[in-house]
């Protein structure tokens, strides 16, 4: 089982909380956005003391992206060579993980551009570009065993998440298992977006991953910008029940006691998400 954690830590020095989450949930891959310290500091926190495994990061990536605040960062505790950096795009990194012998999966870590001062057209164009880049990279690699995780700055129901030109992410596995649908001349593959099942207060976890009390006429209050998308070829590998929005890191609560909203003073204004992939055995489909 591979456990993956994503957290937008809002430019704060939260290495100790990340480490607490890693220890508590036996995390194998850590994806972080908006670091408040250097990635080397985070790596030190992950590997300090009696860490059970050694985490790695791609030093080349860190050296050539030092100026980019939006850059997501990826740390893993497999052999260093198990993770191969493929691409660095606009707020996204593409890595291939050798999951089982000879079988690789593509992990795309994203931190798409902020909604602040941008129209839905802009968000759609960013998402559309990222959808095209993912399809191009999948074509280059010759497989669609892809997981996309990160801060999309969109909700699961936003145009950029749903339309075929962008992520084409649907709300049920049954639809996603249809693999693709034809739009005009193009065959467009689905993503499954399990975050649909995490919206609102009739779920075991918090109602979303980010709270914003917008002064406008259409406040959502709780948003789910932090998401994971899974291609149909990995649906048998993805453990739906493992997906959680976390509300504590070790003994530290990530929500404020008085109103149940993210505690951005002590932690971040985003909540982390955690999920598992069962990559052992023959359950990784090989459609190429």
């Amino acid at each position: 089982v591979v456990n993956l954690l994503f957290w937008n830590i809002r430019g704060k020095r939260l290495g100790h909380l990340v480490r607490a989450l890693v220890d508590e949930h036996d995390v194998d891959i850590v994806v972080l956005a908006e670091l408040g310290e250097t990635p080397w500091d985070i790596l030190t926190a992950l590997n300090a003391g009696n860490a059970r495994h050694v985490f790695h990061m791609d030093e080349l990536l860190e050296q050539v992206t030092r100026q980019r605040r939006r850059q997501p960062h990826l740390f893993w505790r497999f052999e260093r060579e198990a993770m191969c950096l493929r691409r660095n795009d606009d707020g996204a990194i593409f890595c291939e993980l050798e999951a089982t012998a000879g079988c690789r999966i593509l992990i795309v870590a994203v931190h798409l551009r902020s909604r602040m001062h941008r129209s839905e057209h802009d968000l759609f164009e960013f998402a559309s570009r990222m959808g095209a880049v993912i399809r191009e990279e999948e074509a280059r690699l010759g497989h669609q065993r892809t997981v996309v995780v990160g801060d999309f700055n969109m909700n699961p129901f936003d145009v950029g998440m749903m339309t075929c030109d962008a992520f084409h992410a649907v709300m049920t596995q049954a639809i996603a298992r249809g693999r693709s649908r034809k739009i005009g001349e193009d065959e467009r593959s689905f993503f499954y977006n399990p975050m649909w099942g995490c919206l609102g207060d009739r779920t075991p976890g918090p109602p979303g991953t980010y709270y914003y009390d917008s002064p406008g006429h259409l406040p959502l209050f709780w948003n789910t910008f932090d998401q994971v998308l899974v291609r149909p070829d990995l649906l048998d590998v993805f453990d739906t029940d493992s997906l959680r929005i976390l509300d504590r890191a070790g003994s530290a609560p990530l929500l404020k006691r008085k109103n149940g909203r993210p505690n951005q003073r002590e932690a971040s204004d985003h909540l982390p998400i955690l999920f598992s992939l069962h990559l052992e055995g023959d359950n990784v489909h090989e459609h190429t």
């Binding site: 129209s119 559309s128 570009r129 191009e136 339309t163």
Partner: protein, 158 residues
């Protein structure tokens, strides 16, 4: 199939030889030549998606939005690092594939609009000689050579 009308096309223009995407590809080749192919340019051309208006509706349409036709991206590509691609420039072009263009330099986090080929070439030159871009190229070349050294162990005779 017999045609009932005469040909009304007097002369059909050929493809442009100096469109912004062609200039980017040429610069990518210059880079490959100067680095012995350690780092080269990769320049895909994508249509800009205008389909959002279908979904978002007329109320969201901003008539001042330029009618971009294509995006030409410039990536640094490192053959020795499994073909690693690193986004450098994103250039939005009109359908005519001419000017003006909007260039986003993702390494320096700068955006500029160029109204002519001269302006575009000046903007490219400024971006190419910026410290941040030179640092990225140096980092990629160093990593590329590191991979070469790792693979260059002396071969033993069987």
């Amino acid at each position: 199939m017999s045609m009932s009308t005469r040909d009304l096309w007097e002369d059909v223009p050929d493809a442009k030889q100096d469109s912004p995407d062609v200039i980017l590809r040429e610069q990518g080749q210059w880079l490959a030549d100067k680095t012995n192919n350690e780092v080269r340019g990769y320049v895909p051309l994508r249509p800009v998606n205008r389909g959002s208006e279908r979904f978002i509706g007329d109320s969201g349409y901003d008539s001042d939005r330029p009618n971009w036709g294509f995006t030409a991206d410039f990536y640094f590509e490192v053959p020795n690092l499994n073909g690693y691609r690193h986004l450098f420039l994103e250039v939005k072009l009109p359908v005519s594939m001419g000017y003006p263009v909007t260039m986003t330099d993702h390494i320096n986090a700068k955006q500029s609009t160029c109204h002519s080929q001269d302006e575009f070439e000046q903007a490219l030159q400024a971006a190419f000689k910026s410290k941040a871009v030179r640092d990225v190229i140096a980092g990629l070349r160093t990593a590329s050579r590191g991979m070469n050294q790792a693979w260059s162990r002396p071969l033993t005779q069987e």
